[in-house]
Amino acid sequence: MSCKELERYDRGEMDEAEFMRHAASCPVCRQALRLDEEVISLTKSLRKTVKAPHLWSRIEEALREKRAEEQQLVQELQLEKKQKSGRFSFRWRFLRFVPAAAALLVVVGIGVYFGLKSSAPSSGLLAHKALARVEKKEQEYMRAIKDLEKQALPQIADLNLDFVFFYRTRLETIDAQIEQCREALALNPANAHIRRYLIAALREKKETLAEVLSLEDEDTKLRRSI
């Protein structure tokens, strides 16, 4: 036999004081409360220590195996990437990149020099509308870079050391180019050459960050597949 008021109380639709007033005049609820107390007390007696002395050793061994499997698969993936990237090792490819970055810096430097030198309006200067369009494009890149940075920068630290060195250096070089362009544009905002270099540097930064994320995605896929 049961009383609807007990169900209401258990469901939280009635407060304790109200239920107790009801129970004082309801023998069914009084009996239910007495039995509930007994059930809970019997149940609490089951709260005993369960001995499993070797369980952690088993778990630890299983976790170590899992971690080793993951590490091995990540290494295999990185090796596969290196092999796919051609006959040059990753370090050699990085060294090949250094003269290109240096050349780009020199070109940017020359551009900045001539940009600063030309104070009078010339054919290289952007018209007001074109300048607005270019600035809009730069802002789009900046927003995309900001979003990518949030995800990619924490991931760089988790990569293989070769990749960490490579991507950090590459991003530092690009940041230096962007900084140089910005300094020059502060003096001469309408210089088309410097704007072009800035857009190119921003595009390169965006692509580099996306590349870092694609590496991370592959690692994640790999982890999930394990």
């Binding site: 469901r11 007994e38 149940t43 089951l46 220590t49 369960v50 778990i59 630890e60 976790l63 971690r67």
Partner: protein, 174 residues
């Protein structure tokens, strides 16, 4: 060390951090799994499975949410997996209390058997509530059900156990 810091270490693959979690949850885990499954070996397997799933899925854990609910959800799901492999799923609808079959007279001697005879989800709710002392909100998070469902389920579990207790007392008198 607070739980959030331990979880961060787990995310970096630090096995010592997993051990810290094990030490904190060893007894609640083993007790709950044992009450859910009734067999020590299966309970230990469910706990081990919980840690492997935690290792694989720790990156999905969102900081700021209750870790105990998150980890108990994994444990209860591991227990359900074992039960599913064992036999066809029992109806979990707490409203169907009238269809409850009393434990037979041979097994009516212990509260353990009475709890073991509850449907899976009802047993999970009741064990977390009455043995582990979880709040109803925590149970709702751990089982991914509404708080109202937890309240109703605990109500029906108590009703069934009351019936069992009354019957046991009557048998004793006879």
């Amino acid at each position: 060390m607070d739980e959030e810091a331990i979880v961060q270490k787990c995310k970096r693959g630090d096995l010592m951090a997993y051990r810290m979690i094990y030490e904190r949850y060893e007894q609640p885990f083993l007790r709950t799994a044992f009450r859910m499954l009734g067999r020590q070996q299966e309970a230990e397997d469910a706990v081990q499975d919980t840690f492997l799933k935690l290792y694989r899925g720790i990156h999905h854990y969102k900081s700021g949410t209750r870790f105990s609910s998150y980890i108990f959800r994994i444990l209860i799901n591991s227990c359900y997996d074992v039960l599913r492999k064992r036999s066809p799923e029992v109806s979990l609808d707490p409203e169907k209390a009238g269809e409850y079959h009393q434990p037979s007279s041979e097994i009516r001697h212990s509260i353990k058997e009475a709890i073991a005879a509850l449907p899976d989800q009802m047993r999970a709710c009741f064990v977390l509530f009455a043995i582990e002392g979880f709040k109803q909100e925590e149970i709702a998070e751990a089982l991914e059900i509404k708080v109202g469902t937890v309240k109703a389920t605990v109500h029906w579990a108590k009703a069934r156990l009351r019936t069992w207790l009354s019957a046991s007392r009557k048998e004793e008198k006879e």
